[in-house]
């Protein structure tokens, strides 16, 4: 079985955000709308986060995993 690009991602919220972004884009949703949907998704996991904080992390994660295809660690919260 092949290795998933998210295998090294331990945070549930990060996996959810990156997966949702990929799937939304895959179904033809525009970039801005998909990005905002993922920011909302992040805030469902982290209601304590501000919208600004959510956008910052979501941008980090999407740019890291999807745009650049990196597999290293990312900044973010301490959640499992």
């Amino acid at each position: 079985m092949g290795r998933s690009p998210l295998d090294g991602v331990t945070r549930r919220c990060e996996r959810a955000v990156v997966t949702a972004y990929r799937e939304l884009r895959g179904t033809g949703v525009g970039d801005i709308q998909a990005f905002h949907s993922c920011s909302t998704l992040y805030r469902i996991h982290h209601p304590e986060a501000s919208l600004e904080e959510a956008r910052r992390l979501v941008a980090e994660w999407i740019d890291h995993h999807v745009v650049r295809g990196d597999t290293g660690p990312t900044p973010g919260c301490d959640c499992p």
Partner: protein, 186 residues
């Protein structure tokens, strides 16, 4: 009072009014920089990034050029729209990340003009203030040396030196709040 410029905040198709002669050299340089120019101009955001040792990928370079050539105060989505017109592969996430990086490095200033969207401008053109037309969202930059002197005098009286002061004036065009019939009658 010196009016620095009259940019529209409504997007790339915005009307660009003549540039007043009071603009700083840095801003004049930026205005002559087409976003598609390949050479790195001295004083541009791109060259500042290089001076700070930031890794300049192709997309980061393009975002820097979009910001350098902006004569208004674009928000992230507007920067994205301008960048995507040049390279459809660019992502809003990359734009967000780059803009935040430039802000963290002190290359960009974040401004909030009251509609909940952060807008950005290069941090290289000296002391100036903004007047925001609350009906149209247009932002007018201006300098007011007397106001700056007054602020310094107030701070001095209180035992301080002014480090930074930004005035944001939210205003309606004179007479626009009064119904026309009433205006004619008065």
């Amino acid at each position: 009072m010196i009016n620095r410029r009259h940019p529209s905040e409504s997007g790339p198709a915005a009307v660009r009014l003549p540039v007043p002669t009071s603009s700083s050299p840095a801003r004049r340089r930026r205005r002559t920089t087409a976003a598609t120019t390949t050479a790195v101009e001295e004083g541009s955001i791109e060259s500042l990034c290089e001076q700070l040792g930031l890794k300049m990928t192709g997309q980061r370079r393009m975002i820097a050029r979009v910001l350098s050539s902006a004569t208004d105060h674009p928000d992230v989505e507007e920067v994205y729209r301008r960048a995507v017109a040049m390279d459809s592969r660019i992502s809003i996430a990359t734009v967000y990340r780059t803009v935040r990086l430039l802000e963290d490095k002190g290359i960009l200033n974040r401004r909030n003009f009251g509609n909940g969207r952060a807008r950005y401008e290069p941090n290289d053109h000296g002391q100036h203030h903004h007047l925001i037309d609350i009906d149209t969202g247009k932002v007018i930059e201006f300098e007011h040396p007397e106001y700056d002197r007054l602020l310094r005098a107030i701070a001095e009286r209180l035992g301080f030196d002014v480090v930074s002061a930004k005035l944001e004036v939210f205003a309606k065009r004179a007479g626009s709040g009064v119904p026309s019939a009433k205006r004619e009658a008065s």
